[in-house]
Amino acid sequence: MAESALDSTRPDGLEGIVADWSSDQRAFKRVSWGKAMMWIFLLSDTFIFSIFLLSYMSARMSTQSEWPNASKVFSLHIGGTDLPLLLIAIMTFVLISSSGTMAMAVRCGYARARKATAALMYLTALLGATFVGMQAFEWTKLISEGVRPWSNPFGAEQFGASFFMITGFHGTHVSIGVLFLLIIATKIWRGDFDKPGRSWLKSGAGDYEAVEIMGLYWHFVDLVWVFIFAFFYLW
């Protein structure tokens, strides 16, 4: 468990960075190793998604063919009119809502509200599963229209490879997040987190930090979607 009480003489700001990193102890004060490791994992994941988006950018900028118009490709035909990007917009709102419920779950966890925490995490998992379901629908629609990683009827051939790679990798992240949400929520619902003793998720009774670490991962998935939404769908 991370000690919260910091020496009152420890400086803040830029001086604090020097003091923390040169303290001959752990550099990340007030943060448990679990949380620090999740942040470092998320940093590495940031690089992975950055490289995907950069390779997509390079393909799109260097191709001689016309890039498919995302606004048209991802439009839904409802009630006689084409609504551009409607499904993507709904997916965005679903994911943002799930981020909100996750933030609430973290807050309830630190307030030791066992059932509220678990319920909010189940709701987050449900919204995440909804997102993945809508993504499966979108994939099915595009595949039935003839979009393949090597060709598509709308324009530049690299479109399919970029689309399936980027959204597929993001969807995998969401799916893994849903599984972990269900595992942790179930453990909390059963009261495992209020029993004394250590496990791989807690260091003692009432240690709900795993909820916040889970939350970091979940918010990151939402964060990546913000960038995919801007660069892939709105460009």
């Binding site: 468990m1 991370a2 919260s4 604090g16 923390d20 990193w21 550099a27 990340f28 004060k29 007030r30 943060v31 620090a36 942040w39 470092i40 940093l43 940031t46 690089f47 950055s50 490289i51 950069l54 950018m57 390079s58 900028m61 260097s62 191709t63 001689q64 606004s71 551009p84 990007l85 917009a89 965005t92 709102f93 943002i96 981020s99 909100g100 996750m102 933030a103 609430m104 973290v106 807050r107 630190y110 307030a111 004394p196 003692g204 009774a205 009432g206 240690d207 709900y208 916040e212 939350g215 970091l216 918010h219 939402d222 964060l223 913000v226 960038f227 939404f229 801007a230 709105l234 460009w235």
Partner: protein, 115 residues
């Protein structure tokens, strides 16, 4: 002994208890910003205006999520800098790949152009 552990846990969490109102405000802002960026596409804005708006809304959303939902605003700078500064390398890579893509485009234009 168990009591002691709970007290310790309570002390530890004081730092990450924030008012409910803050979370709801950020939640609402994320909805509004998403609606704005969707509207940029819906209204069919083009060129520099489209790009500056999309990037602005994207960065605001990313900032809100990282700062408030992920509690980065309340962490010590030693952690914030260690996590937030390395992605600057991505911007360098972005510059390199932009130059490279332009070069590839021009080469394809010269070599594979229809006679």
């Amino acid at each position: 002994m168990a009591n002691h552990a709970i007290e310790q846990a309570a002390a530890h969490t004081e730092g990450q208890q924030h008012p409910l109102k803050l979370y709801f405000t950020v939640w609402g802002l994320l909805f509004v910003l998403s609606a704005f960026s969707y509207f940029v596409d819906y209204a069919g804005l083009e060129g520099l205006l489209r790009w500056s708006l999309i990037l602005l809304f994207m960065l605001l959303k990313a900032g809100l999520i990282v700062a408030v939902f992920m509690h980065m605003a309340w962490e010590r700078l030693a952690l914030s800098f260690a996590i937030l500064l390395p992605p600057i390398a991505v911007l360098v890579f972005l510059g390199i790949m932009t130059a490279e893509s332009d070069y590839t485009f021009v080469t394809r234009d010269t070599v594979f152009a229809e006679p």
